[in-house]
């Protein structure tokens, strides 16, 4: 049986050092981290994007990734959504005693790999071990810094009438896949989390135009909730076309069965891109040229509005409101 993490690993003594050397330094290894000082030191200039996020997912290992990969993607994607080039990450671990060393190593290894893919370095970190029941296996916080190239201005308040809305691929994969694994419903579907860093896709967008009005990764609450935030920040209507929404048959089927909607299911590797109508086709092509953007589609457009909301033109031709998510999406009763 694999060695297990105990409270002693968090005591600051020899076991703590062993843990740091054998796992964290081993996988994260880079010149800034290797200096082994109390804080990471690096040069910076120009505009900086700075963000933090905590990750508490059950199960910690899931199809398409694990909590470690997710913790790197989440923060990298928040930086990329500001047009920044992600550079440095910190990571804080809160580990419940009893997690095996092998599990931790697998998590840390995938963080290192994802960081490499996304072009970021993990330059500082912290580990605490808590007693049984004080947390759920492992919680990870990551904080990130990215540099914004000159001239890039993007934000949720910049959507303008005439803009088009692009989604970089199928929606709801992450939320639906996790739901299936968590609830053990006996539904077997060929689905996995879409968890992926978006920094390269963002650069694809900027390779076409500097005029990128909004970039957002529609995580919790899904595409519907994120677009509602943008509509209200920008004071516009966003009109979606149901026939253009990229949804896998599996995701649609499972959502239909449970009374949920793919529009509200979480994504961890998708980007919403809002750009002026005249460049939208070129941006779409650029996104589709990347492996994570092959299924991208123009899903809607930005319209003028007195009362900001998201509307959906349905398959059948009617129009309805797509509201924000209230609380958690709960399975319906019949």
């Amino acid at each position: 049986m694999s060695e297990v993490i105990t409270l002693a690993h968090g005591s600051g003594g020899t076991l703590t050092h062993e843990l740091i050397n054998n796992i964290f330094y081993k996988y994260f290894h880079n010149e800034i981290l290797d200096s082994e000082n109390d804080a990471a030191v690096f040069d910076a200039q120009g505009k900086i994007a700075f963000t933090t996020d905590s990750f508490v997912i059950t199960p910690i290992f899931f199809k398409g990734g694990n909590i470690g990969k997710l913790s790197v993607c989440g923060t990298v994607n928040d930086l990329a959504s500001m047009g920044a080039i992600p550079k440095y990450l910190s990571c804080g671990f809160i580990i419940e005693e009893g997690l095996t060393m092998d599990e931790l190593a697998e998590i840390v290894e995938s963080m290192a790999k994802t960081a490499k893919d996304a072009g970021v370095k993990i330059v500082t970190g912290d580990t605490k071990v808590v007693g049984k029941g004080a947390c759920d296996k492992v919680f990870i916080n990551t904080t990130g810094i990215g540099f914004i190239p000159e001239g890039r201005v993007t934000g949720g308040n910049r959507a303008k009438p005439g803009d088009k809305v692009i989604l970089t691929g199928y929606m709801g994969d992450h939320g639906t896949s996790i739901l299936l694994e968590r609830e053990d419903m006996g539904i077997h579907a060929d689905l996995k989390s879409d968890c992926a860093p978006l920094s390269e896709l963002v650069e694809k967008v900027y390779s076409v135009t500097g005029e990128v009005h909004v970039l957002r990764d529609p995580t919790r609450g899904g595409v519907a909730t994120t677009l509602n935030e943008i509509a209200s920040q920008s004071g516009v209507n966003i009109k979606l076309y149901e026939e253009n929404l990229p949804v896998r048959d599996e995701v649609q089927g499972i959502c239909d069965m449970l009374g949920m909607e793919p529009l509200y299911m979480a994504n961890e590797g998708k980007l919403l891109v809002i750009v002026p109508g005249e460049v939208s086709q070129k941006v779409l092509e650029a996104i589709r040229s990347h492996k994570d953007g092959e299924d991208a589609a123009v899903i809607g457009e930005v319209l003028e509005s007195q009362s900001p909301m998201v509307l959906l033109k349905t398959f059948a031709g009617g129009t309805r409101v797509v509201d924000m998510l209230t609380g958690d999406q709960l399975p319906r009763i019949c």
């Binding site: 419903m185 031709g317 309805r320 709960l330 019949c334």
Partner: protein, 366 residues
């Protein structure tokens, strides 16, 4: 998407059907849906937006959560707060407030209330927690009740004696008849529930429509299903015959699902029950039969049913009867929203008020 499903969403067929309605413009048609999933599908697919103004859809008491009386929720919360009890429920009930707090609020105070996807899951929880009493909140119509009956039978067969149900189950035929008799209500036609009919069959609908001279259709849930069913119903209303057409034959057989139905009646028997907003409808509820009373949470935990319950504040009753619409309620979208619901109709994903709030507001705003 499978091709056949695509056809049921087809914009071309929808548009042909929508145009047909222009032949029936000289009068108003008041049509009541009796299935919560119809209510949701009609809004979600934009069908409401495609219908002409003279065809009025009224959402009847088809959502099991919405018609669950306050005393039921209060008892559920009371149970969940007991130290040795785990309450299990379908998701929709978690946010329903009752007269006091909701299960979601009780949970923050330490109550053990868990969402399950099937009553059978509750049996598993009971086996895994032998020192706890597991109570499943059993609400629903003919669609869900057979599965609950199966869970109770399984518990008995396997000797699981820490599993109970708080029965709040209801039967649709009794309610349809009560609505048909109600002098306050002026309904021209019924959109009979597709799911309930798949279990209960079509006989109850035919008898009811004939007896009260109100025609009906049994419909599916895709946009084309719905538009076609509503169009056919409009024709039946014009012809003035109390007939019922089954337009959901790919799922609903005339005899329903006799196996499911008889399992239900083996475990449950009819009783009086309160429909929130409508009051007590005699013999429209279901309670466990004597051989299964050891699983009856009402009896085991000595809980009381307030059969005279009256709702104050919101106008749920008038909304369920189709006398008023959600925007007519002074609380709608103001004091009562999905985040802070006053009544169950705003909570459930199938609730009339929630559906209006979620999908219909652009008509109200624009």
């Amino acid at each position: 998407m499978a091709d056949i499903l695509k056809d049921f969403k087809s914009p071309e067929i929808s548009s042909i059907l929508t145009k047909e309605f222009s032949k029936y413009q000289d009068r108003t048609f008041k049509i009541m849906e009796l299935c919560g999933t119809h209510t949701m599908s009609i809004f979600k697919s934009g069908v409401r937006d495609l219908l002409p103004k003279n065809v009025k859809l009224i959402s009847g008491p088809g959502c099991p959560v919405c018609v669950t009386p306050n005393y039921y929720m209060d008892n559920a919360v009371k149970l969940s707060m007991m130290k040795d009890v785990i309450v299990t429920t379908f998701g929709d009930l978690m946010r329903v407030p009752g007269d006091g707090k909701s299960l979601l609020e009780a949970k923050t105070e330490g109550a053990d209330a868990r969402v399950v996807y099937s009553p059978i899951d509750s049996l598993k929880i009971a086996t895994e927690n032998p020192d706890k009493k597991v109570v499943f909140l059993s609400v629903g119509f003919e669609t869900t009740t057979p599965v609950v009956a199966l869970a109770v039978k399984k518990a008995k067969e396997q000797g699981i004696n820490n599993f109970y149900i708080l029965a709040g189950n209801k039967t649709m035929p009794a309610a349809v008849e009560a609505l048909s008799m109600d002098k306050e209500i002026t309904i021209d036609g019924f959109l009979y529930p597709g799911h309930v009919s798949s279990v209960a069959g079509t006989e109850y609908a035919r008898v009811n429509s004939k007896k009260y001279g109100i025609p009906g259709v049994i419909a599916g849930f895709e946009p084309v299903d719905l538009l076609y069913a509503i169009l056919e119903l409009v024709k039946l209303i014009v012809e003035g015959k109390g007939e019922v057409k089954n337009l959901y034959k790919r799922v609903v057989r005339e005899e329903g699902n006799p196996a499911a139905f008889s399992t239900m009646l083996e475990v449950f028997e009819p009783c009086d029950t309160v429909w929130r907003g409508l009051g007590n409808i005699p013999m429209s509820g279901l309670e466990l039969r004597k051989p299964y009373e050891a699983y009856d949470a009402w009896k085991v935990f000595n809980l009381e049913q307030n059969i005279d319950e009256k709702i104050t504040g919101c106008i749920c009753g008038d909304i369920l009867k189709g006398i008023k619409e959600p925007p007519d309620c002074p609380l709608f979208a103001k004091k009562c929203t999905p985040n802070r619901p006053v009544g169950a109709c705003m909570v459930s994903s199938e609730g009339t008020c929630a559906a209006h709030y979620k999908y219909g507001r652009y008509k109200i705003n624009v």
